[in-house]
């Protein structure tokens, strides 16, 4: 019974995957232009532009140079 359920689940998964992968490029292109991805990108640009020195990695680089 459990084996049969597992087999059914695996087949279901394979079918789902196969169907999705047919549209993989289309899905990926759409994801790239999703409002949430664009919003995340804008938030990151805004937040990172506000960060002021000193930056931890500047200290690391100075130590490396010595």
């Amino acid at each position: 019974m459990i084996t049969s359920m597992k087999k059914h689940r695996a087949e279901e998964h394979e079918a789902f995957l196969e169907e999705l992968l047919k549209d993989k490029e289309k899905i990926i292109a759409a994801i790239k232009n999703s409002p949430s991805v664009i919003r995340k990108q804008q938030e990151a640009i805004e937040q990172l532009s506000k960060l002021k020195p000193p930056f931890p990695w500047d200290k690391d680089r100075r130590e490396e140079a010595v």
Binding site: L17, K26, S34, S36, V37, A44, L51, P56
Partner: protein, 163 residues
């Protein structure tokens, strides 16, 4: 990290990833998008990329990434481990890159004053700190300031780079 992860399907350029979460609510398609942050950022951050993660959903005829949804598929550790694996692979391939990420701030997070998604990301980092900190440098950003990443200290944004 030894945790089990889902098989990942990526684009040839390695900036977009898909995987399928399998859990109590069935198969849910998840997407990860890594975007380059433009050159007008301070030079020391370059090249820096932002990671966005969420459920890939069909809205009408179009697919879109939804980072606000709580799937409740009962496989959160495996999903987070898969996202971490993608980040690790990306940084290993782009050796000079800094990867920046921040979890979606939902209503529950706003009410509690804590970013629940970041807590999950940080839990994954913290629980594998011994291994990850050997290979990667981590920093946090909070209210406009950089800070050293420290276990247990919640950061608004996390930055990571290969050592």
């Amino acid at each position: 990290m030894d945790r089990t992860t889902y098989p990942i399907h990526s684009t040839n350029d390695g900036f977009e990833y898909l995987f399928i979460s399998e859990g109590i609510r069935g198969n849910i398609l998840k997407g990860i998008s890594i975007e380059y942050i433009p050159d007008d950022q301070p030079h020391f951050l370059r090249p820096i990329y932002n990671l966005a993660f969420g459920d890939a959903k069909l809205v009408g005829d179009n697919w879109a990434l939804n980072d606000s949804v709580r799937s409740g598929n009962g496989d959160m550790p495996k999903v987070i481990a898969t996202v971490v694996k993608v980040a690790v692979e990306f940084l290993t391939r782009h050796k000079n890159a800094t990867l920046s990420f921040q979890g979606y701030l939902d209503e529950k997070s706003l009410a509690m004053g804590k970013n629940q998604r970041n807590i999950l990301y940080q839990r994954a980092i913290d629980s594998n700190w011994d291994e990850l900190s050997v290979k990667f440098c981590f920093w946090g950003a909070k209210t406009g300031k950089f800070e050293e990443y420290s276990i247990g200290n919640q950061h608004e944004r996390i930055l990571v780079k290969l050592k």
